[in-house]
């Protein structure tokens, strides 16, 4: 084990003591220790395990490049450049802080939302980062959201489009879509040119909302469409990893044309399944 530490120490001794270099050393150390421990567990002697771990470590120059340091230039750097770089990093941190803090403060819908929309619209566009999306028909237009930390939620009607957007506002904390739901209710009396709903991590569920063109997709979750008249529709159904079910039977990815095919329904899921049940 000491051999490994000595080796890493000598690799990093040539480098300026930056936080990046410290982290690289720490993580490479973690990987080497794990490998060393596994080789020992397989019955190798301490000496052989250390030698094998060091031999398979790779080329140190690769790591130096990722730290933005060319080995032969590492020591020649002018102190002015280092100070400028440090000041640059501090300035960048300030900007990030202001941006994230400002966004969190300005976000009017961070908590739970249950709103009725009065404006007219002819299209619906929902984009969720990490929420399940439900679109259904009802009496009045409503948008509701069970809030979550580290996400922003916004809705507006602009140029005839009801836009609903949920985004992650910081890189820490909530990432799963568990229990976070965006529900959009659209009255059956509203004639819709297009409906789009997509979720990166959650599912998308469209129930009885009719539009000339419907696009529903999810990267990680399932996509389901039900209660929609598809007697004259072009169905574009795609999955990468999951399965497609159309009216209860499994079908292959591709395009299905029914009747005149004038209505368009595009449903796709990268990791999950697509389920379509016509009215």
């Amino acid at each position: 084990m000491d051999d490994i530490r000595d080796y890493l120490g000598s690799v990093f001794s040539k480098l300026p003591q930056t936080p990046e270099a410290h982290r690289a050393k720490d993580e490479l150390g973690q990987m080497m220790e794990d490998k060393y421990a596994e080789l020992l567990a397989q019955g190798m002697s301490e000496k052989d395990a250390a030698e094998a771990t060091i031999a398979e470590f790779g080329n140190p120059d690769e790591v130096l490049e990722s730290l933005g340091v060319k080995p032969q230039q590492g020591r020649k750097r002018h102190p002015g450049c280092v100070i400028a770089a440090v000041l640059g990093v501090i300035a960048l941190c300030c900007v990030c802080w202001v941006v994230f803090w400002g966004r969190a403060e300005a976000d009017p819908h961070a908590g739970s939302v249950d709103a009725t929309i009065a404006e007219d619209f002819s299209s619906v566009d929902v984009h969720a980062a990490c929420a399940d999306v439900v679109l259904k028909s009802g009496d009045v237009t409503q948008v509701s959201y069970s809030g979550a930390a580290n996400t922003s939620f916004e809705y507006e009607v602009q140029d005839g489009v009801l836009r609903v957007t949920q985004q992650q506002t910081s890189n820490v904390g909530v990432q799963a879509s568990d229990g976070i739901v965006i529900t959009v209710v659209v009255p059956t009396t509203v004639e819709l040119a297009s409906v789009g709903a997509t979720s990166d991590l959650g599912s998308v569920d469209l129930q009885g909302v009719e539009a000339a063109r419907t696009d529903v997709s999810s990267q990680m979750g399932d996509v389901s469409v039900s209660g929609v008249d598809l007697s004259s529709a072009t169905l574009e159904l795609f999955v990468d990893m999951g399965q497609i079910t159309l009216d209860g039977s499994a079908v292959s990815p591709g395009t299905v044309v029914r009747g005149t095919g004038e209505k368009v329904l595009a449903a796709s899921a990268q990791m999950g399944d697509v389920n379509v049940t016509a009215l």
Binding site: L28, M31, V63, L67, Q168, V172, L201, Q219
Partner: protein, 113 residues
């Protein structure tokens, strides 16, 4: 036994390999390297330096994010998880690969056949 794969060639695909592993859940350095060896059927073993520089690059690009976690044995480790941008990047690389395979295959698998 097939001829050895040129490591320079395969290194160009280390990013999608890592993202593929992380799609199955957050993981840490050595576990990712083990999964890559396993999935490749033992034909490719990634070097620590290659893996770390890829992690640093992916994190800088916002495709993965790291977080510290203490494992069952009490050891502190840096875990990585894929971000939505990482998922998108992975899918784009998969589409690019299909196209590459198709085009290059026309020249490598029976020319003009």
């Amino acid at each position: 036994m097939p001829d050895e794969i040129s490591s320079d060639y395969i290194r160009g695909y280390i990013d999608p390999m890592i993202l593929c592993v992380l799609l199955q859940g957050p993981s840490y350095g050595y576990e990712v390297s083990k999964r890559i060896r396993q999935i490749s059927g033992g034909l490719y073993a990634v070097k620590e330096t290659t893996l770390y520089s890829a992690f640093a690059r992916l994190e800088k690009g916002g495709l993965v994010e790291s977080f510290p976690q203490v494992a069952e044995n009490g050891k502190r480790r840096t875990y990585y998880r894929i971000t939505p941008a990482g998922i998108e990047h992975y899918q784009a690389r998969c589409r690019e690969w299909q196209l590459t395979k198709d085009v290059v295959g026309r020249f490598m698998e029976g020319c003009g056949a």
